[in-house]
Symmetry: C2
Subunit: 335 residues, 2 copies
């Protein structure tokens, strides 16, 4: 993965429930294990030993529960704003943060700006399909609580480009999330979007194939590659699946612990269950990506460990090396 | 459960993927196992041996994929419309159908009518919380793709009354589904609804307690009793959980089958996992209930087996015996 010409990845050292210790540890591991150049952004005096990784100083920290718009406007020396500026100014190739999601989006949007023609950036989150090789890309997973049909069409384009470049799919199957397969089912937003997506013009440059409406049960299925929805529904879906998977896994583990006999049986099964556990573990997904901006921005989950940071960096450099930003730019505004 | 004064439960014999055979078998079992009086509605010549259960003849069948509004308006001798009429005309205490959900709602709405003051009926679906005793009631699970804040407030009232009467909860905790706990998070619909629910006047008669916004991850948690949302989001959530649980369970079973050793361990664990399996099996939930109408209507899932029909009848008579319809009527329009 070593690429001498690639700029360093800027990591917000102050963002996340386990910042800065786990974030710094992840940065060091990412450099050592992936051979990727890293720059940390934050309060130098709070970072401890960075193992020689350069630090871009930033004196302010946007709290996890701070108002995103207000904090980004007023805290110009925050680690998030400085990380986004590093990408804008050509000092970093991508930014990674496990901090306040809204503030990460706002920083990236205000400093990197949108790609020409992009109405709104969207959060693309890979949803693991248990037992299958590839995840389903869900977008928008929470950037825009309210959307227009035209925005959703762009999300379909950006999602298709993302699935092609990240997963090597020739013609990603793109579905519109609704409450029935028929084009007449759903909210007014969904019906209007369905009509636009069915026209097919959007797919020419982005390379996706519209398979029509899909339902909630299709999201974790290997039969669909990209699911498009508004940011309210997408965020509800994401968190519903997180909660549901966790509740079921905990209940299964409790069943394993009912007796000495079941405990022993559980230990036999653990190696067989381990790949599935690894697939569902949020630290392994590499985080979500903000699409539509003039630079890569990876949003890692708030409780990110060092491993999550390593995986986020891995995704960031993959996206840089295939020039995902350039590909999205061409799909949205063909030359 | 025998109640000599109770009217029979009307079961749509023609609705569902396994109709009429499984539906009739379920009707016979419900009568024999629960001691409940039943009346079947459908084409007598297609029902086979009903074990002496009376049949209300209906010559038409609304297909699972038929347009709900159109079919109910034009097929006045359909089993669904006749079942709803049986409740309206005092020949049955409740209706049960595993048929076309939209047509079931339309039949019930047109024939039974809304309770005075009810804006729109809502589908209340119990979501099992793995390992916990009581489910979370989700509404609206799909009756109204578009909602107003005032409708959602009534859903909160109806959901609270339902949770009190069905699960014996003194003061059900009611949450509004959003994408963040803060009142300022979410769509305009959610923000406006939050303000109305926070006023608290709605809770006085219905007995619920507003706990604020909840997120998708709270739905399968035992910390919340009722989750209120619009019918689009609710239906997406319901199907997302169905699909997610199924995908995870299948992947776990596949892991159990990897070797002779894991198969043997799996057999040891099955008895411990059986209660969890039973909790998540849709046939066991008794189906969803349409709230806000002047009569009980139970919507069983399309692939209902005889067991699902028995459980739907069980829920129907429980709701009749506690006069849920009367209680909702009083909560919506106190005297």
């Amino acid at each position: 993965m070593t690429n001498q010409n690639r700029l360093p990845v800027a990591i917000d050292a102050m963002g996340g429930d386990k910042a800065p210790a786990e974030i710094v540890a992840g940065a060091v591991r990412a450099r050592d294990e992936l051979g990727v150049s890293i720059v940390l952004v934050g309060r130098p005096e709070e970072l401890g030993d960075t193992g020689g990784i350069e630090v871009i100083p930033a004196s302010e920290v946007i709290a996890m529960d701070a108002d995103p718009g207000k904090s980004v406007r007023t805290m110009k020396d925050s680690s998030l704003v400085r990380a986004a500026e590093a990408v804008r100014d050509g000092k970093a190739c991508a930014m990674v943060s496990a901090g306040n999601t809204g503030a990460t989006m706002a920083s990236a949007l205000l400093r990197m700006k949108r790609l020409p023609g992009v109405f709104r950036p969207a959060i693309a989150t890979p949803i693991p399909c248990p037992g299958a090789d590839l995840p389903t890309v869900l977008l928008d997973a929470g950037a825009n609580a309210e959307c227009s049909p035209e925005w959703l069409v762009q999300f379909a384009q950006m999602g298709a480009v993302y699935a092609r470049h990240r997963y090597g799919l020739e013609a990603p199957r793109v579905g519109l999330l609704s409450i029935g397969e028929e084009p007449t089912k759903g909210s007014p937003l969904v019906k209007a979007t369905h009509a636009l997506l069915a026209e097919g013009a959007w797919a020419e440059v982005s390379g996706g194939v519209f398979v029509g409406n899909v339902e909630g049960r299709d999201i974790m299925s290997p039969d669909i590659d990209v699911v498009v929805t508004d940011g309210f529904t997408g965020n509800v879906v994401l968190k519903t699946l997180e909660g549901g998977m966790k509740a079921l896994v905990n209940a299964i583990l409790a069943a394993f612990a009912t007796s000495e006999e079941t405990k022993a049986a559980g230990e036999v099964l653990l190696p067989a269950l381990f790949p599935l556990y690894g697939q569902l573990e949020p630290d392994n997904t590499g985080g979500a990506m903000l699409l539509g901006l003039n630079g890569p921005c990876i949003i890692s989950h708030g409780s990110s460990s060092a491993t999550a940071v390593v995986n986020a960096v891995r995704v960031a450099v993959e996206m840089v090396d295939v020039d995902l930003v350039g590909a999205i730019g061409k799909a949205i505004r063909p030359e």
